[in-house]
């Protein structure tokens, strides 16, 4: 095998299902500290920026409704977008799945005779693992977003939608830059400190060389406007603008749910997105491009429209709202589970609440990791309140739990199912419950108000490892009522 061109990344494949992965993530004290700090800061910013928009709640509703309209008439808008993009000089490709999309991008690079590409930060290329496919074909893909660069040089995996290196602090970043930059291009300056300005400077110098050399760029896309065929990329660092200026060829891979009908609809999303995402009134760089402009920017434009499970999600009336997502990451930042375990435990580039509802819909329930994801939530509902497109997370999580259970119990009955059946019978009538309460009252008489500590009882021990429990009372409420209100109504 020939030597790799780019740093070998971490692998999602080795990550166990959520409960186990989360357990080991919890033991990473440094990461917990970094995440608590980062999510705390960004939460406060989002709240402040949302609060200053008087019609924030109406905007959220509008965002949800526009996305739902697109989903209802997706075929119409996709064809309209294809026609408009084609008319503007963009070559449009359709990709059913990750393999299709990766092959299309590879073929474009090969046809152009390039052996490296620069990348604008994109979730969808993480989803399809584009970098590794290009690498396997001898093409080096260089991440140009600062946080993506940290992840790439750190042989790491992204752990957040917006800030993929959120689990790293600046001394770790310094470490990564000093040891790795020189191996893949311009090294970090000697004796660089962990001052953010110095680190950013090092990244800028390291990337400059790559920008100037690049003949081809790869991006995702935040939106495609169907009526005009305009692509929109929203970013903070200007690296996207560089990718849109210097290389001759530009390939954008965009999920089919990213369509908005008209330019006017963008008004809603360009208000919602930065405020929900970085907690800014407006992000620093918003690029629109509509086809080729002679002598200005890329002269060969391609768009790959990707399905990769999206039509499966669309087919599920109870789950499809997940496709409204505009990848702002507010749901991650507010999530108390994400705050403690970080992104890697979710086993895919989409972590947090959106990962828990989107992943299993895109990929299906065949994999135990995907079946565990809908359970990676306390159903506290904090995400429901912040999502700029009003995705009803808690309803979808419960719905997907139901699907996971159906999947698991389809072939043979499970112990949990027997337990739940038992509970179902118990709760079918007060007389059933009362029978069971005979046992709890008996236990209460024996234990007489004691508290129970750690006990090696299966399942119960998981509660009791850190939490005591009060023994059941010798008299239930039902019994108390009989004793004290006998003769009352009912």
């Amino acid at each position: 095998m020939t030597e790799r061109r780019t740093p070998e990344p971490g692998s999602w494949l080795g990550i166990p299902p959520f409960p186990k992965a989360a357990k080991s993530a919890l033991e990473n004290a440094e990461q917990r500290k970094n995440l608590r700090h980062a999510t705390g800061t960004i939460r406060a910013k989002r709240v402040a920026r949302a609060a200053e928009v008087p019609d924030w709640e109406e905007l959220r509703t509008a965002g949800a409704q526009i996305k739902d309209r697109v989903a209802r008439h997706l075929e119409h808008y996709l064809l309209q977008a294809e026609a408009a993009m084609t008319a503007a000089g963009i070559t449009v490709h359709w990709a059913r799945d990750a393999d299709d999309a990766n092959r299309i991008v590879t073929e474009i690079a090969q046809a152009k005779g390039v052996d490296e590409v620069v990348k604008i930060k994109s979730m969808v290329t993480q989803e399809i693992d584009l970098n590794e496919h290009l690498e396997a074909n001898g093409i080096a893909a260089w991440e140009t977003d600062l946080a993506e660069l940290i992840v790439q040089l750190g042989h790491d995996l992204p752990s957040h939608i917006l800030v993929p290196a959120i689990h790293r602090n600046r001394s770790e970043v310094r470490e990564i830059f000093t040891t790795e930059m020189g191996r893949y291009g311009t090294p970090a300056p000697e004796g660089i400190s962990d001052n953010p300005a110095e680190l950013t400077d090092a990244a800028r110098t390291h990337l400059r060389e790559k920008f100037l050399r690049a003949k081809m760029a790869v991006s995702g896309g935040n939106f495609i406007v169907a009526e005009t065929g305009t692509l929109v990329v929203v970013e903070s660092e200007g690296n996207g603008r560089m990718c849109l200026t210097l290389p001759e060829t530009m390939v954008s891979i965009v999920g089919i749910e990213k369509i908005v009908p008209t330019l006017q609809d963008l008004e809603v999303f360009l208000k919602l997105l930065p405020r929900s995402s970085t907690g800014e009134r407006m992000n620093p760089y918003t690029s629109f491009w509509t086809g080729v402009t002679p002598g200005d920017g890329p002269q060969d434009l391609h768009v790959v429209l990707l399905d990769n499970g999206r039509t499966n999600a669309l087919a599920d009336p109870h789950g499809r709202a997940a496709l409204r997502c505009i990848r702002c990451s507010a749901c991650l930042n507010i999530c108390p589970v994400y705050e403690r375990v970080g992104g890697h435990a979710y086993g895919s580039p989409y972590p947090g609440p959106i990962g828990a509802i989107l992943g299993p819909q895109l990929r299906g329930m065949d994999n135990p990791n995907d079946r565990a994801l809908p359970f990676a939530s306390t159903l506290c509902g904090a995400c429901n309140e912040v999502c700029p497109v009003r995705i009803p997370f808690t309803d979808i999580l419960v719905h997907l739990r139901h699907k996971a259970v159906e999947y698991k119990t389809a072939k043979h009955p499970t112990g949990e199912q027997a337990l739940m059946k038992g509970a179902g019978w118990l709760m079918a009538d007060g007389s059933h419950l009362e029978t069971a309460q005979q046992a709890s009252q008996l236990a209460g008489k024996v234990l007489r108000g004691k508290w129970l500590g750690p006990l090696p009882i299966p399942i119960a021990s998981r509660w009791l490892q850190a939490r005591d429990v009060e023994a059941p009372p010798a008299q239930t409420f039902r019994q108390w009522w009989k004793d004290n209100h006998e003769g009352d109504q009912q």
Binding site: R401, M427, R478, H485
Partner: protein, 263 residues
């Protein structure tokens, strides 16, 4: 809707006493009878006639939220049968009331039982969380309670975000005489209970409960109060293990307390 000024007579000026069916919830019926007992005492003091239909059981949430829709259906059906004839069904739990209102119709529809869906929708619309009933229906914010202790309030996720009780519990607590109510830091963050989450992802659950317990301890309160017993069990379990010396108490128990039964 009228709102009583603090210190006025706790009894609403109504000709006919509202007839309330108590939904005790299976967890406090079985594990913490002091909560429904306090609820009865409180509602009677506020001039209600209280019934406890013996047929009642549970909202079915433990099955529903674990993904077992079929298994939850008997509880849904039983709830509609039990409470169908009452105008006011009141439960001392935002979570259980939230489940009745937000999930029962969905479960009936999933089972293809339109008749049950209609019945469940009707009975859900007459189901109130305790503080909603007191503030919105009875129009009372001073229930005439006395509780001379330092107390901190955890709003609980399902009370806040599913039942959407808003600040009604705080309105009622602020009017309690003798109470020293202190703010809980990061009050709106989940305690980590989450039903079967507490055992399926027990380590994460404990990490969250421990943070919550730390915030509770930082208030120097004698009591942690909430409107959902399950969350109190979770946080209280950690506090007890830590010998923190802070007791947990349900909202209904504080609101039911008077000078006579001072703790």
């Amino acid at each position: 809707m009228t709102t009583e000024a603090p210190g006025t007579d706790a009894r609403p000026a109504r000709s006919a006493a509202p007839h309330v069916a108590l939904f005790a919830t299976c967890i406090t019926d079985t594990m913490k009878p002091s909560v429904p007992i306090a609820t009865v005492k409180l509602l009677e003091r506020l001039g209600c006639r209280v019934s406890f239909p013996m047929k009642q059981t549970c909202c079915g949430q433990i099955m529903t939220n674990t993904g077992y829709y079929k298994e939850a259906l008997p509880a849904v059906r039983n709830y509609a049968d039990t409470f169908g004839e009452y105008d006011y069904i009141v439960g001392p739990s935002g979570s259980c009331v939230g489940s009745v209102r937000e999930q029962h119709v969905m479960l009936a529809q999933d089972a293809g039982d339109e008749g049950l869906a209609t019945a469940a929708g009707a009975v859900a619309s007459r189901t109130y969380e305790l503080t909603e009933f007191i503030v919105d229906v009875l129009g009372v914010t001073d229930v005439g309670a006395y509780f001379p202790h330092r107390v901190t309030y955890h709003p609980t996720c399902h009370s806040m975000r599913i039942a959407k009780v808003g600040d009604r519990p705080l309105q009622l607590l602020r009017a309690v005489r003798g109470i020293d109510l202190v703010d809980l830091p990061k009050a709106e963050q989940c305690c980590g209970f989450g039903g079967t989450f507490s055992v399926k992802n027990s380590e994460v659950s404990v990490a969250m409960a421990s943070d919550k317990a730390r915030h509770v301890r930082s208030t120097d309160a004698e009591f942690l109060v909430a409107g959902d017993h399950a969350c109190l069990m979770n946080i209280g379990g950690v506090l007890h293990r830590q010998r923190a010396g802070i007791k947990t108490i349900h909202l209904a128990e504080i609101l039911a307390s008077t000078e006579e039964d001072q703790r």
